[in-house]
Symmetry: C2
Amino acid sequence: MTSERQDELVVIALGGNALQRYGQRGTFEEQLENARVTAKQIVRLIRRGYRVVITHGNGPQVGAILLQQELASEQVPPMPLHACGAMSQGLIGYMIQQSLINELRAQGMEVPVATVITQVLVREDDPAFKNPTKFVGPWFSEEMAKKKMAEGWLMKYDVGKGWRRVVPSPDPIAQVEVEAIRRMVNSGIVVIASGGGGVPVVEKMGELRGVDAVIDKDLAGERLATLLGANLFVILTDVEKVALNYKKPNEVLLDVMNDEEAERYYREGHFPPGNMGPKVLASIRFVRNGGRMAIITKLDKLLEALDGKTGTRIVPK
Amino acid sequence: MTSERQDELVVIALGGNALQRYGQRGTFEEQLENARVTAKQIVRLIRRGYRVVITHGNGPQVGAILLQQELASEQVPPMPLHACGAMSQGLIGYMIQQSLINELRAQGMEVPVATVITQVLVREDDPAFKNPTKFVGPWFSEEMAKKKMAEGWLMKYDVGKGWRRVVPSPDPIAQVEVEAIRRMVNSGIVVIASGGGGVPVVEKMGELRGVDAVIDKDLAGERLATLLGANLFVILTDVEKVALNYKKPNEVLLDVMNDEEAERYYREGHFPPGNMGPKVLASIRFVRNGGRMAIITKLDKLLEALDGKTGTRIVPK
């Protein structure tokens, strides 16, 4: 499935803060402004001759869409979580795509940019389906939660906040649209894909079917980078470098680690699940699957990190 | 801008009923089932060797999304109409794309399919902006309508139903992503694009910016077909043929008309605005811009119509 490795091809995974920053309400104007800041950094890479594929999270956006489904549910049939994921891909893709096109044009570059609605295949027998762990959507009263559970949702009590739906977080296998994305990249298009980890689908009696689950966007990004044959996979987050003993007196910032070191730190519990954990895991997988280097850093250090001046590099042993 | 004309390339514009039929509530299951029926017909074309680009309406879907924005507006900042259009492209694209992939695979064909989030450029000085005519979104009480008008919306009274927002319906110039779509088509991808007429954008101080407007999906489809150099443009609707004196005792069903005849009938008022009018207008424009033939018919007659056995053909004089 893997193409020949491409040195100039970079897959970039944007963190949630690429569009909605802490404390913001998430208006369109706020998100678009953040997308513009992100686009400026990415266009610097394109100028340098890198071919770029972008993936992104969708936490705040799909949270808003899910709440809207609930609050309007008496008047409009709510869409299932997987379909809400596709809606969030449209919304976020639009903002990033428009910002990239504007920034490219401002610099006199006419490079085609396109967002692809992306499904990501997961295994129907993935153990995650037996142990849903991921909170999604709004909080409910106990009474409403009981009604939802009777309708088939699994819900858990989120301490101090109320009842909330939990869904599985299965491991991604592959982007269903990877061949389309490959051809787009090869024809010179900057592609935005696999947003929010992709719309999760299973194969059931030979057919793809959406399932209510949440795929980690960095693990899905690894699949995309590996299947496209990218040599570089960059995960952007809110810290410049990965740390051991994060925020403790003995904190150590890491410049580089090989996959074995990374795995040892991971097992020792240095990287919390739902935060740095999946980023390090995705990086380990990427270099073990043939990638030359994964980088974890923050947005405004993107180019410096690619030049080897900052960020945390994860390399094969 | 126009490529060499391509005989095997067909742009298909799906009517609203491709996903939501009269009387349906618009649940995900209903819409997906309709998408499957549509996909079966389109795959028959792909089997025949046609290369296919699909565009579609979004009326019921964006209506639902707009209502959800309103009903949740105290808790979640509502997205503007143009961003809701991008969400509907994600949602509808996902359903059509998954259905096409499933049907192609069932027939042993591995053809890549991808939905592209699409912006459509309109002129900032389009006269439509001075005379908004298109009703969108939910109905409001007079009190709420006054509040909305104070915030900048234009609203009109929709007889018997309440106050409703009206937005401009400007003429489409071009799909911003047309070069990406062209490259995708050339590399063998079945593309779904320009959904709901596209996300309307204007160029303001050199930058693209979303505007709250609604672009007719058939007129936008003509732009896509013409700019891609398709020789065939098929508009699917709920009638098999275009009629003169529609539903009157002297009704005449048309097999073929040239662009001059079509224009005369159009001016005589045979084709109501918001229904058959823009379909005929889009067809006239298509053949005047170099297209070989436009066809207006219904979904289950698609292949027969391409074979010249039914539907209404619009040809150059």
